[in-house]
Symmetry: C2
């Protein structure tokens, strides 16, 4: 299975005309990343559009004191919009990106992507849609950040990222990174959640016991 076949699993690329395929084949790169392979650093020149084939990318900022904060995730079939962004505006990449285990990405060189964008309306639509989605995620995150306490944000994060069985397989350190705080703060909040019977904690994971109370907490931090 070559790169183009992989790309064609995703609708915008499946719809490409023959010319699109020819364009695409010129210099598209496939990359396999393992956890902690850093895909892109802040300030780096963006060389093309990234499309996630499998796995997941995490985009985050890094404060001077070392605490991270996740901005958003990039799932299979999605492109890194920030990279698109830089591509179209000749800007340097403004954040850090890390791959989770077994992530495969393809890199479509900038020149090719720009040509595709001009000629293929499905690529145009995908681009606009991806940008729009990101704007929405960022807005939501910003709004949460300025109107919620950590307790609310944690409750929200747990509900949002837990599996359908109510299990969240993450260390407290990882959760802390996502929320832009430290492990101790997460531990303190989780202690309170546990005391109130909202969750159960184990090493490396956490189980929701009372989802509705967690939900209420988001609106009424009481």
């Amino acid at each position: 299975m070559n790169i183009l076949d992989e790309l064609e699993r995703f609708e915008p690329f499946r719809k490409l005309s023959g010319r699109g395929k020819i364009l695409l084949s010129q210099g598209v790169i496939r990359k396999e990343c393992s956890r902690s392979t850093i895909a892109l650093n802040k300030g780096q020149v963006v060389s093309g559009a990234y499309v996630v084939v499998s796995g997941r990318l995490r985009v985050f900022t890094l404060a001077p004191n070392g605490t991270e904060a996740t901005l958003y995730f990039i799932n299979p079939g999605e492109t890194c919009v920030l990279a698109l962004n830089c591509l179209f505006n000749d800007l340097l990449y403004p954040a850090w990106v890390q791959a989770e285990d077994n992530t495969v990405i393809t890199l479509i060189p900038g020149a090719i992507y720009r040509r595709l964008f001009e000629q293929e309306s499905t690529i145009q639509n995908m681009t606009v849609h991806a940008l729009s989605t990101l704007v929405f995620r960022l807005m939501t995150e910003l709004e949460q950040m300025h109107s919620s306490h950590q307790k609310q944000r944690l409750a929200n994060f747990i509900l949002l990222h837990a599996s359908s069985q109510g299990l969240l397989q993450m260390t407290q350190q990882q959760i802390a990174h996502h929320l832009g705080t430290t492990r101790e703060v997460i531990a303190r909040l989780l202690r309170e959640f546990v005391a109130n019977g909202l969750v159960r904690t184990q090493r490396g994971s956490l189980a929701i016991l009372d989802a509705s109370s967690l939900q209420k907490l988001i609106s009424f931090p009481g």
Copy 2:
């Protein structure tokens, strides 16, 4: 001077072909707003693309306790990207918008805008560029929010929004709104700035005395 002439002051519209103009003329609306005319409310259905002709729009979120936080401004020639966003994704508007004094906006109905987007590459480019710019602004704001204290954010805000003479004509309440905090906090921080000779405060405005020290403060909150 009719609406289309006004729109043509801005490049993307100047470049429109004859057909584009015909499309544009069908139902474009001109609106004049005075301060505190609220252009758009959270949860409202977005009826079209907004282009600012003169004046300025402010987009902000509103926390349950009533504190505002400015997300970004929309200057003449720019469009409200959030509205575009909703337009292309059939979403409800996710924030509040307020006009400053003497702001004139034009409203291009959604159906027309979508057609223009499909047929006119200048409109495509404008849309992508506007979305990209917004993504960048939001990212920057988010990063600042999670890595800076109010002191740093205030110093940054003052430097960024002061006139070339170093004058910032805003009440402390307005500044507080922009940073998502309360007036008293701003007063407390400004007191410190004044004590250190960084700024001078007057009723309704504030003058920068030592820009370079303010700049240093952003990096080293000391």
